[in-house]
């Protein structure tokens, strides 16, 4: 009754358009990147969760009004020593979530560096979201909301404070990103893949369906 349209998927899927996006997660170690995504993936929308072999790569679909947005979520290693690998991961990503820990200012600085790097080197149209994670630890907060908010506005980022622990704003963040993603067909990186993915009505699948439908 109330949650329709807010990302809850309720059937009707075959009619909806499916858009697939690569989303990369960046941020320092231990800021909760993985937890954030796990919360998202294993939380509310589990009916669209896809099985993966581990938590480094997760896939999750959310339903917007007429579109199913499928995120392929690429986690990156937060350790500085792996920094040089990051471009491999954000290359071709259409969305990024840069995560920091509101109780650790240095992670915020690192996040800013990531944002800068993304804006310089990633796809020009990449949608970047900044997540101030661990918002449940408000009493240990060392990065002010306003500070991050201002930064986000200045750099045109989506911004939310999140808590992977309490789920605060987790789904909201992903939904906000989903809404910002271009939904046109051409936006998909691999045309073939998208094409195959979208056509749910193709005759072959149909024929199978009808078989089982009995």
């Amino acid at each position: 009754m109330s949650t329709r349209g807010t990302g809850r998927a309720n059937g009707n899927l075959p009619q909806t358009k499916i858009c697939q996006f690569k989303l990369v997660l960046l941020g320092d170690m231990a800021v909760g990147k993985s937890s954030l995504v796990l919360r998202f993936v294993k939380g509310q929308f589990d009916e669209f969760q896809e099985t993966t072999i581990g938590a480094a790569f997760l896939a999750q679909s959310v339903c917007l009004d007429d579109t199913t947005v499928k995120f392929e979520i690429w986690d990156t290693a937060g350790q500085e020593r792996y920094h040089s690998l990051a471009p491999m991961y954000y290359r071709g990503a259409q969305a990024a979530i840069v995560v920091f820990d509101i109780t650790k200012p240095e992670t915020f600085e690192r996040a800013k560096a990531w944002v800068k790097e993304l804006q310089r080197q990633a796809s020009p149209n990449i949608v970047i979201a900044l997540a101030g994670n661990k918002a449940d630890l408000a009493e240990k907060r060392l990065v002010e909301y306003e500070e991050a908010q201002t930064y986000a506005e200045d750099t045109s980022l989506l911004f939310m404070e999140t808590s992977a622990k309490t789920a605060m704003n987790v789904n909201e963040l992903f939904l906000a990103i989903a809404k910002k993603m271009p939904k046109t067909d051409t936006q998909n990186p691999t045309h073939a893949a998208r094409h195959r993915g979208v056509n749910l009505q193709d005759p072959d699948t149909q024929s199978t369906r009808s078989c089982c439908g009995n």
């Binding site: 589990d46 072959d204 009995n214």
Partner: protein, 965 residues
């Protein structure tokens, strides 16, 4: 009665977030969170001050912590159902009662006209909204669900219990009257329930505001800080049995992960299967409640389900994700370590059919977890077999969208098996064969479907590999169907893959279409399936692969269960058509009499010829991939394919998948050796292999701490297993099959990481160091070549997704090892990598640009001086003129005086020079298609261009038959 918070605070409304949200770039304020955190109306139990009639408020409830003997919500609901389950109540009465209650308070009654239960809830005041909302409780196959929701429950208690803690489609969770929330003794509940509907007007039902309302609101900000797990969430003073899986994974320790998440609806239908009598469940907690009253009420509506409810064990208090718990339990008890399949599977099969018709037994086994009505990906934990069954059953419910392909999958596997008979059977076959008979025992009993034409193949190694249809679910289905064997691995339960099939993700299935024909599709994003199967027990995989008959039987079983016997033939035909087509294409590729066969042959020759000329491995591989893509493009639009009867029924997408498999087989398989030796040369030359080897030693000499490992690393036995996987990966020719093996390897690594910290979900921060640890102990040079091979030759359509992710990560780990330095990684690495990525990226665009149909490259074999001598394969395009081709020949044959040479066609013993503006490809094409077929040669020989102007004007197509010499 319910001195509760009017509405559970929502995370999004945390003081820190709400006001600010508006200024954020978000289009609109975030929707209210639906997550579990919001579920507990009270983080803490109301203070004792809420003076209630003594009966109900036991002293214990005053304490702010969960009571030791706390009673689960479900239990409370069951015991107090006379209060809220008012099946005979009229609507107006319910309205009257609820309108006096606090928002969230509810009643369940029965709508006589519609013959269904109705959940009446008092909503918070809202404009235009009725104060009391009625939601239909739909019933389907004895499963209940709230209209509009996808979650199903086996009985009303579980449904209500779920909605007491999780709102799903409701605006907020349901609330129990305060006194019920607070009750801690069964006797108290007895008193309450004895009041029946009178409760609402009784003194027990206090409407006073609880004092701690403010308290609980305030507590919202940091509600869970104290508890690291949501497991400890509470409602009132009640511990919830509903658990958030995330935290289970993160916080839980030794216990096998079980999933509390809603289960597919289908699941419950099958339940009997999963719990054959021999598997004992934990003994039910003896109900101390007034059973009679319950029975009374229940009997009216809940179709005998009450028994199940009453006898069902208390809901798992926390970490056990309910459904999984059972499964694991079952596996623990029922399945011997040896993983004899018949133990579990067979009973399942036998019971499956009955389960479909009579759903009653079902409830007994189902954990108190909501079930999902819709087939979905996430299938927490059921036993695969069961799931398969389920799926079919669910068909009725879900309509065709979801289910269709499920049954097909196994069949296809069968097919596949046949297809691959040629493959060598490896050593594992032995074990398998032992198991085989056992499994089959059950099968004949259930086989109802006749499918005479289903081929029964001998055991074979790569079962799925050639799967022509590229259905993702194939592998899933297969793998899932044999779970018991795997049970030693902690991850066993992952999900039912077959279910995915039906889901929206069906799209993915095609998205990640198999390339090498392998089970890949799934891998590319919902990987596990096949990955899983082999994880622990190689025999498992082997079993799957080599026991086609079993699959067959199961498939039949499934078919029959869905009462689709009549359709089975169609399915069989369907899938064998996939295989046939794939085979036909491979045959065509080998047939020198077909245009395509010529193309393939020429292409291979051309590749072999030019391979050595590349100084960059990437370029070399990219060229091969490009050719493959072109072959695919050619074939898909060629008349030769259209003439194949087998291809007629296929969509282009599907054709592409099948063709990709065939092309891998006809092109990559023969080229594999050459490609590897080319790669090896290039890398040796560049010193990469040496550098890698040297640094491998450095990494080997580093401690796990140096590597940044914070988890367990694979022990020796596991490492051996990994080596086997990687060894197989190396031997494989199909990029997609390689990727599958890589994913399996990664999965093994994940599993070994979880040793000692079960349930924790490891992100890449944890994974990458362990991967490096593993790779350093592997044949790293081979892997370097493998990774490149996979990266460059995989179907470009599969570049997103899980396979690609782990490929990237493996590549990153290798690069990291290659440049390993304990101090820090230099920027140099970054440049290297970026350069490589750039090249990879280039391929993507390159392929896209060139794969368009107009630009399909073709080949012409040109002999030098006389027919058949020194023949070279030259790449030409439709618009390549004879003049252009001559220039190529001059270069290729290294003639010094190109002016004195020209191109002729030898046909019927006559040399016919070409005009400079003729299109050799068109000539070749017409010759190839001429009837009767003619021998012809393109020969580069001494001569002059044909001078006739007319030739340039007349289209070259019909080919100048009148030979000019």
């Amino acid at each position: 009665m319910s001195p509760q918070v009017p509405k559970p605070p929502l995370p999004a409304q945390l003081p820190s977030a709400v006001p600010k949200i508006s200024s954020s770039p978000l289009p609109r304020p975030p929707p209210p969170p639906v997550a579990r955190p919001s579920s507990p109306p009270h983080p803490r139990p109301p203070p004792p001050a809420v003076s209630k009639p003594s009966v109900t408020t036991s002293p214990v409830s005053k304490i702010n912590k969960p009571m030791p003997p706390s009673i689960s919500i479900l239990e409370k609901l069951i015991k107090t159902c006379p209060v809220w389950l008012q099946l005979g109540m009229k609507q107006d009465r319910a309205m009257a009662i609820l309108s006096k209650e606090r928002p969230g308070i509810f009643l369940v009654r029965r709508d006589v006209t519609q013959k269904q239960m109705v959940l009446s809830v008092h909503l918070p005041d809202q404009q235009g909204e009725p104060q009391v909302k009625e939601l239909s409780v739909k019933e389907e196959k004895s499963l209940l669900y709230l209209e509009g929701s996808v979650l199903v429950f086996e009985n009303i208690f579980k449904l209500v219990a779920f909605y007491c803690v999780s709102r799903d489609i409701l605006p907020f969770p349901l609330k129990l009257p305060q006194v019920i929330l607070q009750v801690t003794k069964y006797e108290d509940m007895e008193v309450i329930s004895s009041l029946g509907s009178e409760f609402w007007s009784s003194a027990l039902n206090s409407h006073e505001e609880v004092e701690n309302v403010g308290d609980s609101c305030g507590a919202q900000d940091k509600p869970r800080q104290s508890s690291s797990c949501e497991i400890q969430l509470s409602i009132g003073n009640d511990r919830l049995w509903y658990v958030n899986p995330i935290f289970i994974e993160e916080c839980s320790n030794s216990r096998p992960p079980t999933s509390p998440t809603p289960v597919l609806r289908t699941q419950s239908l099958n339940t009997p299967i999963q719990a054959p009598p021999k598997f004992k469940r934990p003994p039910p907690r003896p109900p101390s409640a007034p059973e009679c009253s319950l029975k009374h009420t229940l009997a009216k509506s809940i179709k005998g389900e009450f028994r199940a409810v009453l006898t069902s064990p208390p809901p798992p208090l926390q970490k056990g994700e309910g459904s999984d718990f059972e499964l694991t339990e079952q596996e623990r008890q029922g399945t011997p370590a040896s993983g004899i399949e018949c133990d579990t599977v067979e009973p399942a099969v036998l019971q499956a059919t009955p389960s479909k018709d009579s759903t009653k037994p079902v409830s007994h086994r189902v954990p108190p977890v909501p079930t999902r009505r819709r087939l979905s990906e996430k299938q927490p934990s059921e036993e695969p077999m069961q799931q398969e069954v389920t799926i079919s059953t669910s068909t009725e419910v879900e309509s065709k969208d979801n289910i269709p392909q499920v049954p097909v999958a196994p069949l296809i596997c069968l097919d596949d098996n046949i297809e691959e008979m040629e493959k060598p059977v490896d050593s594992q076959t032995q074990e398998v064969s032992v198991e085989e008979p056992q499994v089959t025992i059950g099968a004949p009993l259930t086989v109802e479907v006749k499918r005479p034409d289903v081929p029964v193949a001998p055991p074979r190694r790569n079962r799925l590999s050639q799967n022509p249809s590229g259905k993702a679910m194939l592998s899933k289905d297969v793998s899932t169907s044999i779970p018991p064997l795997n049970n030693s691995s902690p991850t066993i339960v992952r999900h039912s893959h077959c279910i995915n099939t039906g889901h929206p993700k069906v799209s993915d299935v095609s998205l990640y279409s198999p390339e090498g024909g392998a089970p890949q599709p799934d891998h590319d994003s919902y990987s596990t399936s096949s990955t899983e199967e082999e994880t622990d027990n190689m025999a498992t995989g082997a079993l799957i692969k080599r026991t086609p008959t079993i699959m067959l039987d199961r498939a039949k079983q499934r078919l029959s269960m869905v009462s689709m016997a009549n359709l089975s033939n169609v399915l069989t035909g369907f899938m064998s058509a996939d295989r046939k087509l794939q085979k036909r294409i491979v045959e065509m590729a080998r047939d020198g009499n077909t245009y395509f066969g010529n193309l393939v042959r020429d292409y291979r020759a051309f590749t072999l010829d030019t391979m050595r000329k590349h100084s960059s491995s990437t370029e070399m591989l990219q060229e091969i991939r490009q050719m493959m893509t072109q072959l695919k493009s050619y074939l898909i639009q060629s008349a030769e394919l259209q003439n194949l009867q087998e291809a007629a029924a296929y969509s282009e997408e599907k054709l592409e998948i099948i063709i990709e498999v065939s092309i891998c087989k006809s092109v990559l398989k023969p080229l594999r050796e050459a490609v590897y030796s080319g790669l090896k040369d290039i890398h040796s030359h560049a010193g990469n292999l040496k550098k890698l080897k040297e640094n491998q030693q450095v990494v080997l000499g580093s401690t796990t701490t140096d590597l940044g490992v914070n988890t367990s690393v694979p022990e020796t036995a596991i490492m051996d297993k990994i080596q086997i996987k990687l060894g197989n990966l190396h031997k494989e020719y199909s990029p997609q099959k390689k990727i599958d093996l890589l994913l399996k390897t990664c999965k093994i690594i994940y599993e070994s990481m979880s040793v000692g910290s079960q349930g924790k979900a490891h992100g890449v921060d944890d994974f990458l160091p362990v991967l490096m640890y593993v790779l350093a102990r592997s044949n790293i040079s081979a892997l370097l070549l493998d990774v490149e091979y996979m990266m460059e030759l995989m179907d470009p359509a599969l570049q997103l997704g899980e396979g690609s992710y782990y490929l990237t990560t493996t590549y990153g780990a290798l690069e990291h090892i290659k440049n390993f330095d304990k101090q820090a990684v230099t920027r140099e690495l970054s440049i290297d990598i970026q350069d490589s990525i750039h090249r990879w990226e280039r391929r993507r665009t390159l392929n896209k640009a060139r794969a368009s149909r107009s630009s399909v490259q073709d080949f012409i074999n040109v002999s030098f001086l006389e027919a058949g001598s020194d023949t070279k394969t030259l790449g030409v395009r439709p618009n390549t003129t004879a003049q252009d081709l001559c220039n190529q020949c001059a270069e290729k044959f290294e003639v010094l005086d190109p002016e004195s040479y020209c191109l002729s066609v030898l046909e019927d013993g006559h040399y016919k020079p070409l005009g400079p503006q003729e299109f050799p490809l068109a000539i070749k094409s017409s010759l190839l298609h001429s009837e009767p077929r003619k021998e012809y040669y393109f020969v580069y020989r001494h001569g002059r261009w044909q001078e006739l102007e007319t030739v340039e004007e007349t289209a070259p197509t019909p080919a100048p038959e009148e030979s000019l010499i």
